[in-house]
């Protein structure tokens, strides 16, 4: 039914992402652990230092590469949603199937969210398994907890783009709006001091700290290997709520919109 249709539409992109992200994680972990890999850009400490290897993989590989790929996947998977039905003018056909628009909206969103989870889980599990193979030691099971911040961050990006494609009635427009907002959310924290200065002239109350999707994922990934500070639970909850709020908004839009 609709689950199958959504999966069919996005599966090629999903499979490509799984292959790419798994290959990146496995190959870079092997590269980091081999003597030849200690030269060049990815210079690390002695390969025999298991703790250093695990730490490097968690902070560099999962933080940087996986985060970027997961965000990218979040952006790219979202447009194959109800917004695409608008663009292809098949919404009339879909909405005359005997299911509520709420069901169709959440089904479509859930398929994408599951794919994001699968993608993130594959990358983290792949990295974890490779690390065990190359180091023959399990340094920290907590590495698996990186799935959580990576998934929540990517899901928030996915949900935002999903909503934007529905709102804009177009996959391309939704994607471009999503990219724009994501880029802006990355740069806004940089402009925080200037913005605060400007705001201080007109607003004397509390100013919310602007955090990006990236910061959640980076902090989360860093914590799993060196859980010294506090786990970013507040940010995690915030982005989880955000990830759920966008499909709710999409539902409101769809239920009120005429075809």
């Amino acid at each position: 039914m609709y689950v199958w249709k959504c999966w069919r539409d996005s599966r090629s992109r999903f499979i490509v992402f799984v292959i790419v992200i798994s290959a990146v994680c496995v190959l870079f972990t092997i590269y980091a652990a081999t003597p030849g890999g200690r030269t060049g850009f990815f210079r690390i400490g002695p390969a025999s230092d298991v703790a250093y290897l695990w730490s490097w993989v968690a902070t560099t590989l999962l933080q940087a590469l996986t985060t970027i790929i997961a965000l990218f996947a979040g952006l790219v998977l979202a447009p194959s949603s109800v917004g695409q039905e608008y663009q292809e003018q098949t919404l009339g056909f879909l909405f005359t199937r005997p299911r509520s628009r709420r069901y169709l909206n959440w089904t479509c969103w859930s398929v994408g969210a599951c794919e994001i989870l699968g993608l993130v889980a594959t990358s983290v599990l792949g990295t974890f398994a490779t690390l065990i193979c190359v180091s023959r030691y399990i340094y920290s099971w907590l590495l698996l907890a990186a799935i959580l911040p990576l998934f929540v961050g990517a899901a928030a990006v996915y949900s935002m783009t999903y909503f934007l494609t529905v709102y804009a009635r177009s996959s391309e427009k939704g994607l471009s709006y999503g990219v724009g907002i994501l880029v802006m959310s990355c740069f806004l924290p940089l402009a925080q001091p200037q913005l605060s200065h400007v705001l201080s002239h007109v607003w004397h109350g509390h100013v919310v700290h602007l955090a990006s999707f990236l910061s959640l994922m980076w902090t989360g990934c860093g914590w799993v290997i060196a859980p010294a500070g506090a786990f970013p639970i507040g940010a995690l909850i915030f982005y989880a709520l955000l990830a759920l709020a966008f499909p709710m908004l999409a539902q409101l839009v769809l239920e009120r919109r005429e075809v």
Binding site: R8, F93, P98
Partner: protein
């Protein structure tokens, strides 16, 4: 109301620039083929979109198969098959995949019907929908509609792109396989000859208003043009649906008892030139054509007059 497949009362749909549906009162009995006729932009598709929940009525209300429009839409859609005017389905899916997709939505889905109609209509089942001709796209839409086991088929311009052989086959299927099982077919079209072949009832719509709703047999058997000449001819006799002036002649469209009507005119001094039967096409043109002014002014009165007399 519940004995009607479709019932609407004072249905209105306005868009910023147009009043697409204007106080529509539809009464579609169950188990009949109902031809919903009108010119392009008359309000046919807007009406259908309201019935299916794709658009909300600005005013008015109605039921489909006894379920109120807008409130129990899923119940309506479970029992209703719809072929849209655009015939747009997922371009990357083959008809076989479209069948697979659609099957899961309908408990009464018939794979036997899929096999039967795909062979009868000669549908290429393994070619992507986007690569099919317009006629084959129409056939796929009809296949999906016919296989749902629906109680009501709403077909918006179903003959688009069909060759005469397939069209004939399709009309035969509608009569023999669908209506014979007590199901209702609601065909929106401006192809009068196709509708005339199979329709039991017709509704004529123009500018969002229902001009006429009547049994086709009544139209063919009783509706007459009475052409009269003379002075002091009545401008708006109560028994005439329409009065059209042509030179010295007045043409009266009479819904029944045309001979009695002609006799009454004769008694008033008129000369009766002709009492002639008329087909669906003629009555459609007479009611809709703008160059033949409708002397009643408010055409909605015609529908009311017909409905009350039947």
């Amino acid at each position: 109301m519940s004995d009607m497949a479709i019932w609407t009362e004072k249905l209105v749909k306005t868009y910023p620039d147009v009043r697409a549906v204007d106080g529509l009162n539809l009464n579609v009995p169950r188990g009949v083929v109902y031809g919903f006729l009108g010119r392009n932009g008359a309000g046919k598709s807007s009406t259908i979109r309201i019935l299916l929940g794709l658009a909300r009525p600005t005013e008015g209300h109605g039921t489909v198969l006894g379920f109120p429009i807008g409130r129990e839409q899923v119940s309506i859609l479970e029992r209703t098959a719809y072929v849209s005017e655009s015939k747009t389905l997922y371009g990357n899916l083959t008809p076989r995949e479209l069948v697979r997709f659609t099957r899961g939505f309908y408990p009464k889905w018939s794979d036997q019907a899929v096999r039967k109609y795909s062979q009868l209509l000669e549908i290429p089942m393994d070619r992507p929908f986007s690569k099919l001709s317009q006629g084959n796209r129409t056939k796929v839409c009809l296949l999906l509609a016919l296989s749902q086991g629906a109680d009501l088929l709403i077909l918006d311009e179903p003959a688009t792109g069909l060759d005469p052989v397939v069209l004939d086959e399709f009309l035969r299927i509608l009569v023999q396989d669908v209506v014979s099982e007590g199901k209702t077919v609601f065909i929106s079209s401006h192809q009068l000859s196709d509708v005339e072949q199979i329709a039991d009832w017709v509704g004529l719509i123009d500018h969002g208003r229902l001009l006429l709703e009547a049994r086709l047999d009544d139209i063919k058997g009783q509706f007459r043009w009475v052409t009269a000449a003379g002075t002091g001819l009545p401008a708006k006799p109560p028994d005439a649906l329409l009065v059209a002036s042509e030179g010295n002649f007045n043409k009266y469209l009479v819904k029944k008892n045309a001979d009695a009507f002609a006799a009454e005119l004769s008694r008033q001094g008129a000369t009766i030139a002709e009492v002639s039967p008329l087909g669906l096409r003629e009555i459609f043109l007479a009611l809709v054509r703008k160059e033949e002014p409708c002397t009643f002014g408010n055409v909605g009165e015609i529908a009311a007059a017909v409905s009350s007399s039947l």
